[in-house]
Amino acid sequence: MNIVVLVKYVPDATADRQFEDDFTVDRVNVDGLLSELDEYAVEQSLQIKEKRDGEEITVTALTVGPQAAEAAVRKALQMGADKGVHVVDDAIAGSDAIATSLVLAKAIEKLGAETKVDLVVGGLASTDAGMSVVPAMLAERLGLPQVTLASVVETQGDQIRIKRDGDVATEVIGGTLPLVLSVTDQSGEARYPSFKGIMAAKKKPLETWSLGDLGVDAAQVGLGAAYTAVEETAARPPRTAGEIVTDEDGSGAKALAEFLASKKFI
């Protein structure tokens, strides 16, 4: 069985994230790391492998991103993925989700040329752009079904069952491999790399591919090929600090009720 887990290198969400002059996300001046939400995807991929003990299963961590994005693959290898692929090419900078899904689809096709890819696993969303659309776009490009936003994942043979907590119902969704899966942060704590894992990761294969290796024309990706154009970005004006009162014998509730009344909420 061949599992590909998608990992994204993102600017640290707790840092001061900003835009470049061309309105692309500044990925240089802010420290980056493996998107927290992709750690859950790595975790579930590893759990599927562990639960299916005795089968030959390869978990490949795949990323598309700048030089530094290798760190995201490296982290996945330390957690326990078997091999890594990093697609890096100057032409990719500024790519939108549509172009990113194209590059990912081509990379997955290349990985599948040797052994068919059975399962592509992604996270809930990236912590930077956060559109949550890449798994669906990828599924469309690969002609595969998708089962997304899983909080519980079970596989047996070529069958998969997931649980999803929707807004109106909790659903069990079934599908047949191959398919694209995405998991939420409710699917279970992601493991920390162990010392042994960190040492072992140094010896694991990590390939670097360019657009040429994938047969993708540079004109199909990057900022110039984007299907949307940003016209302006603006930092949200900081909220001006409001009035803070300390409650003493019910004074807080009285003041709060008066505030709500002054704003016509009551």
């Binding site: 969400a13 994230r17 835009f19 939400l37 549509i98 912590t127 752009a129 559109m131 949550s132 659309v133 798994p135 669906a136 776009m137 469309e140 079904p145 998708q146 089962v147 997304t148 909080s151 069952r161 907590d165 109106v168 119902a169 909790t170 659903e171 969704i173 079934g174 599908g175 047949t176 398919l179 939420t184 942060d185 299907y227 949307t228 154009a229 940003v230 016209e231 302006e232 970005t233 949200r236 909220r239 600090a241 409001g242 009035e243 803070i244 009162v245 300390t246 409650d247 019910g250 807080g252 509730a253 009285k254 003041a255 709060l256 009720a257 505030f259 709500l260 704003k263 909420f265 009551i266």
Partner: protein, 317 residues
């Protein structure tokens, strides 16, 4: 004037409010055509509802053959409709499923996609809120048919009579699209409270509740508000994940957000920072949530909230 397709958000033909907001936005771009995908028996009611918000046409796609299948068949259906109607744009309410439908549509139609818009102007420029609500971005689709998913509360619905001409539309769904299926569904128990993402007022609780949400729920009910929770409260098992406000939960943008016993980590702020008015009650005066508030009370939510609830009830008589 070119048509603008608006996917109707409904449950069994009961149209939900975001649909009216989208029809109002669609009227800025062209002639709104509502798209109903659902059971044949709910179509007439849905058509009647959208008539009052300017829908000139109502395309009815019977979902008998695709019910229970996820995303892919809906994307195929809308793509076929787009092929026939050549719309100026396609608007969908921003839900998890609709974003995936939109994603597949974008690839099928070779068109640009903007998700989670919070506003849309006449020239098709969409406003989004990004980086935990710290930035707003204005952008537009430059290739193909613009596909835009719009968050609830992005526009005030404007009532306007439309022709609402019911137009049945036959679709052909491939077998390949019918491979991921809902095998069991446990409907959520109706709380009687408004939908979290659509509510005008949200009252939330966090770690500071200690697991007792009665004070939070009491105030929410007095104000006619939805109840929310921080990740800490959800992770502690006090509230289901569907109540979670924040980066990995819901993003809300109500008129009033009341945060109780919530410290205000960046992940939580990501889900509520764009609320119009923010109020917090917290025992810890150093809690970062106080940096955001219009009004804050340093105090115990278990005594402050019941007293406020009484005041609200008294005022409402």
């Amino acid at each position: 004037m070119a048509e603008v397709l608006v996917l109707i958000d409904h449950v069994g033909g009961q149209v939900k409010k975001p649909t009216y907001e989208l029809l109002t936005l669609a009227a800025k771009l062209g002639e709104p055509s509502a798209v109903y995908i659902g059971g044949a028996d709910g179509a007439a009611g849905a058509a009647e509802a959208v008539k009052g918000y300017g829908a000139e046409k109502v395309y009815v796609i019977d979902d008998a053959q695709i019910k229970g299948y996820l995303v892919a068949p809906k994307a195929e259906a809308i793509a076929q409709l787009a092929g026939a109607a050549s719309p100026a744009a396609i608007l969908l309410p921003s839900s998890a499923e609709n974003k995936e439908v939109a994603a597949r549509l974008a690839i099928k139609l070779d068109s640009g996609l903007i998700t989670d818009a919070v506003d849309l102007d006449e020239s098709g420029v969409a406003t989004q809120s990004v980086f935990a609500g710290n930035y707003t971005v204005k952008g537009k689709v430059t290739k193909g048919t613009p596909i835009i998913t719009v968050k609830p509360n992005s526009a005030a619905p404007v009532e306007k009579d439309g022709a609402a001409a019911v137009t049945p539309f036959e679709v052909t769904i491939s077998d390949a699209a019918k491979t991921a299926q809902i095998v069991a569904s446990q409907p959520r128990k109706a709380s009687g409270r408004p939908e979290l993402t659509e509510a005008a007022i949200v009252v939330s609780g966090g770690r500071g509740t200690g697991g007792d949400f009665s004070a939070v729920e009491g105030l929410a009910d007095a104000l006619g508000a939805a109840v929310g929770a921080s990740r800490a409260a959800v992770d502690s098992g006090w509230m289901p994940h569907t109540f979670q406000v924040g980066q990995t939960g819901k993003t809300v943008s109500p008129q009033l957000y009341v945060a109780n016993g919530i410290s205000g980590a960046i992940q939580h702020r990501a889900g509520m920072q764009t609320s119009k008015t923010i109020v917090a009650v917290n025992k810890d005066e150093e809690a970062p949530i106080f940096e955001l508030v219009d009004f804050g009370v340093v105090g115990d939510l278990h005594t402050v909230l019941p007293a406020v609830t009484e005041a609200v009830k008294a005022a409402k008589g």
